[in-house]
């Protein structure tokens, strides 16, 4: 894992974990030249998570305030029945992710 501060989401910070999310957009012209036009990181990638748009319509909302971190309720879509916590041993998922804050 990176030590010290690195640039993420256009500012210097302690990198949040071994990995962090990001989305980039490119354009290719008729001559094959490629251009970088856009990048978003962190909550900037939330825009494509349509489930949150639905949750923003219901009385309980996202209901993440009492959680240790937002999205800690999330599982792979085949793991909700078992409650299996993916990658419990890696830094991204703290071992106590399931315990209340």
């Amino acid at each position: 894992m990176a030590k010290g501060k690195v640039e993420y989401n256009f500012e210097l910070m302690q990198f949040p974990g071994a990995e962090a999310p990001g989305m980039s957009v490119f354009y290719k012209d008729k001559d094959g030249n490629i251009f970088h036009t856009y990048s978003a990181y962190a909550r900037g990638t939330e825009i494509t998570m349509n489930t949150y748009n639905y949750l923003d319509l219901v009385p309980k909302g996202r209901d993440e305030d009492g959680l240790r971190f937002t999205m800690s309720w999330l599982r792979h879509h085949d793991r909700y029945d078992t409650g299996h916590l993916a990658n419990a041993t890696i830094p991204y998922w703290p071992p106590d992710a399931l315990s209340p804050r």
């Binding site: 990995e19 999310p21 030249n33 490629i34 251009f35 998570m49 792979h76 879509h77 993916a86």
Partner: protein, 136 residues
């Protein structure tokens, strides 16, 4: 205005509800227009020419960044958190991709290709995609 919670709702008549709903609608419309304006500003961002050659492993061999455009002029690349030593990809990124599979066919109609990239070896990625039935 006191904040309502799920345990402390305010119950009103249909007429009163309509007044409150229309008040919120005004703000929602403002937000919709602001979102359009931000998107327009996003499209006005300057571009940077990509000079470096990026090569990715895929299920069908090596692909350059240019290959990922797949015949279209616009490409979205999502960095899906799947470290080389991880057993599975990040649940939040997988959650994001759950929303993406259904969009791919529509994006293609609008000249947009999509690729998710990870640092994990392609064998792990393919096994994970198969388990979750992922298209991307």
């Amino acid at each position: 205005m006191s904040t309502r919670t799920i345990d402390n709702p305010k119950i009103v008549s249909r007429d009163e509800w309509l007044v409150a709903r229309k008040k919120l609608l005004a703000r929602e419309k403002q937000f919709t227009r602001e979102r359009d304006a931000v998107a327009a500003e996003r499209r006005q961002l300057p571009w940077v020419k990509v000079e470096k050659i990026y090569v990715f492993d895929s299920a069908v061999g090596k692909k350059t960044l240019a290959d990922l455009f797949d015949g279209r002029s616009q490409l979205i690349v999502y960095h899906l958190m799947f470290g080389p030593e991880w057993k599975e990809a990040c649940p939040s990124c997988s959650f994001n991709m759950d929303h993406t599979d259904g969009a791919l066919v529509h994006l293609a109609q609008r000249d947009v290709s999509f690729a998710a990239v990870s640092r994990a070896p392609i064998s792990k990625i393919e096994a994970f995609k198969k388990r979750l039935g992922m298209e991307v």
